[in-house]
Symmetry: C2
Subunit: 348 residues, 2 copies
Amino acid sequence: METSAKEGATEVIVVPNDELRKVISDALAANGAPRIVADLQAATLVEGELRGHASHGIRRLAVLVERMRRGLIIPNARPVLEWVAPAVLRVDGNRGFGPAVAYQAIDEAIVRADETGIAMAVISNSSHIGMLAPYVESIARRGQVAVVLTTSEALVHAWGGRGATVGTNPIGIGVPTMNEPLVLDMSTASVSMGKILDYAATGRAIQPGWAVDALGRPTTDAAAAADGGALSPFGGPKGYALGIALEALVGTLTATAFGTDVVGTLDSEFPTTKGDLLITISLQRLGLSGMLPALTEYLDQVRDSGVTGPADVPGDRARRTREQRALGGVPIDNEVWALALKYAEGLS
Amino acid sequence: METSAKEGATEVIVVPNDELRKVISDALAANGAPRIVADLQAATLVEGELRGHASHGIRRLAVLVERMRRGLIIPNARPVLEWVAPAVLRVDGNRGFGPAVAYQAIDEAIVRADETGIAMAVISNSSHIGMLAPYVESIARRGQVAVVLTTSEALVHAWGGRGATVGTNPIGIGVPTMNEPLVLDMSTASVSMGKILDYAATGRAIQPGWAVDALGRPTTDAAAAADGGALSPFGGPKGYALGIALEALVGTLTATAFGTDVVGTLDSEFPTTKGDLLITISLQRLGLSGMLPALTEYLDQVRDSGVTGPADVPGDRARRTREQRALGGVPIDNEVWALALKYAEGLS
């Protein structure tokens, strides 16, 4: 480990991936999580770091620990899974860790999709699931097509509106190929709130299109965006339309909250009221595995259309970052790392 | 009917909605379509006009007629529908009209979803289905949540790429509410190719972000975009990622073509090689109808967040346009209308 140059305003340390995983797992275990659950949650945060999305990485540890301490996450919760229709699994997470609940649902749904062709799981009362990429990738690696959606705290404004009324509602899609799966994982916001807060903390101007102020006016003032403003959707009115449609779809089907009633993934105060939805489709059951060579060839053609080197297909860039960091380590904010070590040693 | 002011370079005539529907249906019937099929296809094109999307309106009639004459559309085709798994319907359109095939699939899928909770139909060998909004809206009006996807000719470039390698791949989502359903229908391209061609024909500059030239360079020259260039995805790299993920998902699950192998909706030369995919989810079967009051209230809160009047929820704008045009008539290009009349009278 070495302390590297400043990144933004904070000191950064480079931590080997295995050590990162171990310390996070120890921190969770020290606070009462069974080791298997702690390992899975740790692996999920590490995936966020490995794929270059620190907002879904170790930074989330403090909130998870605090939520455990307040009983908002029950580390040894037993989720209740019920097939409420032949192809639909309803999951009550019983305040369990998001990854433990989601992977249990995935295991059930994949088996069912091998019978029914398509299966859907709707999950409520489960903590933050982190990046969607690992989930859709794990399904795709098992030969099924995956769609994973989740709602989140309202941070995005309506197009033409003021105030945060829509979640950052990401969409995940995984499709198997002959080699690495196609893996889409994107938020419907232009940027993360973490990025706005980073810019505000260091007094830098944000880019046009990232956010509006409290009156709904586009702004480049990070502080104005953070103080009663809202993130802008990606891609203008279309990104907003997609984000709110996903909010309506996921909230309705998971029987969870909408808009500003969604709480409990960023705070340490409230039970989680967001929902997760996953759809998995069995290529084998539908006799479609024979499509994969043509799909693979197509994706390679698209890569070959790049003007200055290969054009990326969804998943390519995160895979490169992941490979680099798996070997070379993960840059972590020094203070965040110090806190994780304290948790792991039972000192905080 | 009256000839109104110029719109772009062409004379525009305002046609009452009923007359428009009748003339298109007559044109299709005069070329061999059974009346029930002709009426449904006509209604679909008229929906495009009513909702303000002329690119999916009467402008498509000439290609449909030519495709019928060449045997590329079989007007009295009998699609083959087979439940290849309990929740998955495979549909071979047998070269039938897109709307006739799609609504037949919807009717079957909705009934099945009332048993299995979720059902999916994968459609191939069927002609262009037009706007997605009428389909998702019709499913939502029957109390189910709908997702409808379709692939289309490659017109969009990869992010960082040159040449058109990805379809305009639209996404349609419908969710019932206590009053009008939420209806999302959006292309993953920034604009339609029709718009670029209109600008090229009239020598106007296109907006930055709409398209690239043949070398993959962003351009405001409509002619350069039309001549070997490509449409840009909406929302930059995220819109591209969404579009290609949908292409992979739909092409694989419908066992149809990818990228530049997708043909047969804009031309009069090739059998249709795109695919349509629809997912429908029964709120009643899943005991979720009780979510609709909360969803309706949420959407109204979002509307109320508008800075200068209500913010739109997906479907609101098209609904306003539709109401105006249903009463006041639809503006139609004079030449397009004249040709439709000739077809209807058997003179062309």
